[in-house]
């Protein structure tokens, strides 16, 4: 069972996707475990379904969408600050990421 603010897209996934905004400090119950959000999580963003170690693949839709560049704890926001593409770097409005291109 998970909170209806999150969805598990594939049973192989190690991330949940947010369906409804949840604010920092609010708690949720994910597969029988309580966890508090450390940052605001908005619709479409991901949080870790389990602890993920550096270098481990991030699985969404049942397939790899990149690799962890640092350890990620259970319930933590999973995004560009802690994962990277295995193909080509992503960029933000400010600048390119410093990953190799």
């Amino acid at each position: 069972m998970i909170d209806n603010r999150f969805v598990l897209l594939n049973k192989k996934d190690n991330v949940f996707v947010c369906c409804k905004q949840i604010l920092a400090g609010e708690s949720t119950n994910l597969e029988e475990v309580d966890v508090a959000m450390t940052v605001d999580i908005t619709v479409g963003h991901k949080i870790a379904r389990k602890a993920i170690s550096k270098g481990e693949k991030i699985i969404k839709y049942g397939v790899s969408i990149g690799s962890a560049i640092k350890g990620i704890s259970f319930g933590e926001h999973v995004h560009m600050h802690n994962i990277k593409s295995d193909y080509i770097a992503s960029h933000t409005r400010q600048s390119r990421t410093e990953e190799e291109l």
């Binding site: 369906c19 908005t42 619709v43 479409g44 990149g66 295995d86 080509i88 960029h91």
Partner: protein
């Protein structure tokens, strides 16, 4: 369903008179003619550059002989490099009415606008005489694109379009999906869906080409809004985008302006061949929409999460919105609320069926939201392509 029968046998769902300028210097005159005509059925397209380009000519030929187009007014400055004689001849051979005005030979701006308006009014009269005949799903070409994607796109809107595509292909319609650069990471699974192993190999190579090209450009096909919406990597965006293709076999790999002749699912390779020459493969979504229309798309299914509002000249664009918050915010622009999926109010199949219904209605003449709002965006720039390889369009089914 009814269609406008063209002399070349193709059938359109709209009956448009196209005004096309062949260089930026003729843009103002062409736009004035379109504005003065005050008809939604007179639409503006054009090419900005002065240097000739085979790709742009091919795309412009595809647009001017599109089944939704009844007649064409070409507006040239006179000294630009665009091959206006070939364009005019291609339109003529297709049986469509075509007129050319050269500003330098027509007495300048005012006189060309006045002459253009006269020609357009004549073309509209000719267009109204077009025979209307029964048209079937197997004569329909539908393209799909995603723009302003976010973390919801791959959950609601894209798989729903995929379901709609599966239903259209069951009826033997032609469905086109694209942007190999937004399919980086999906090459293996796509190749496995190809109807022949050789086609699968071509698909693998096209995605590899995209990856190399984008790497040289320094950016993937990944906009800041994608990241704000929760997408972290190119392959995450790709997996979401890929869902638009549904589950049918892939029947062929085409390049912009190639027109499939048999029903089925086609991947469009939009990344130029050779070393990067003119910049990004497609500078913006509208450039991709134009390419799919040049390949015969009667209408376009556009999925969005962040909320794109664009439409297009020539073919209606239907907006499928994946993000429930965006839908609420931009509901005047959105045709379909696929946010119902993420809210648990509808299944992907239900939303896909809704899209299918709307495709039929829009094909029958109902205006899509972007059409109603007057969106007729158009972008065409320089590119370079080699023809597709012999394995790209297998004839076996």
């Amino acid at each position: 369903m009814k269609g406008f029968l063209r002399a070349d046998g193709r059938k359109g769902i709209r009956n448009i008179v196209l005004v096309t300028y062949l260089v930026e210097c003729a843009h103002h005159v062409a736009r004035a003619i379109v504005n003065d005509s005050a008809s939604d059925n007179v639409q503006l397209v054009g090419f900005p550059g002065c240097y000739p380009n085979d790709y742009s000519l091919k795309i412009m030929e595809g647009l001017c002989t599109h089944p939704n187009v009844a007649g064409v007014l070409i507006v040239s400055l006179g000294c630009e490099g665009f091959n206006r004689e070939q364009l005019s001849n291609t339109v003529k051979v297709s049986g469509r009415a075509v007129e050319t005005l050269v500003i330098q030979q027509s007495g300048g701006t005012k006189k060309t606008i006045a002459a253009g308006l006269e020609r357009v009014n004549e073309l509209l009269v000719t267009a109204q005489q077009t025979e209307i005949v029964p048209m079937h799903m197997n004569e329909l070409v539908v393209g799909t694109i995603c723009g302003g994607s976010d973390g919801t796109s791959g959950i609601g809107a894209n798989p729903a379009v995929g379901h709609c595509f599966d239903r259209l292909i069951e009826q033997d319609a032609i469905c086109i999906f694209e942007e190999t650069g937004e399919l980086i990471g999906c090459e293996q699974i796509m190749a496995e869906r190809a109807i022949t192993p050789e086609l699968g190999e071509e698909i693998m190579q096209s995605v590899e080409k995209a990856e190399q090209y984008y790497t040289q450009m320094g950016y993937g096909s990944f906009a800041p809004g994608n990241a704000e919406g929760g997408l972290s990597t190119q392959e995450e965006k790709s997996m979401g985008a890929y869902a638009k293709s549904g589950s049918s076999k892939i029947h062929g790999l085409i390049k912009p302006g190639d027109i499939p002749s048999q029903g089925g699912l086609y991947l469009m390779d939009v990344v130029p061949d050779g070393d990067p020459l003119y910049g990004f493969p497609n500078i913006v979504d509208s450039a991709e929409i134009v390419e799919m229309i040049a390949s015969g798309s009667h209408l376009i299914l556009f999925t969005t999460g962040r909320g794109s509002v664009v439409g297009s000249a020539i073919s209606p664009v239907i907006k499928v919105c994946a993000n429930p918050e965006t839908y609420e915010n931009l509901s005047d622009d959105m045709d379909i609320n696929a946010g119902k999926v993420i809210n648990g109010e509808a299944t992907v199949e239900q939303v896909g069926d809704e899209i299918y219904q709307l495709v039929s209605q829009v094909a029958e003449g109902k205006q899509s939201k972007s059409e109603e709002l007057g969106h007729q965006e158009f972008v065409l720039t320089y590119k370079k392509f080699q023809p597709i390889g012999p394995s790209c369009l297998p004839t076996v089914r």
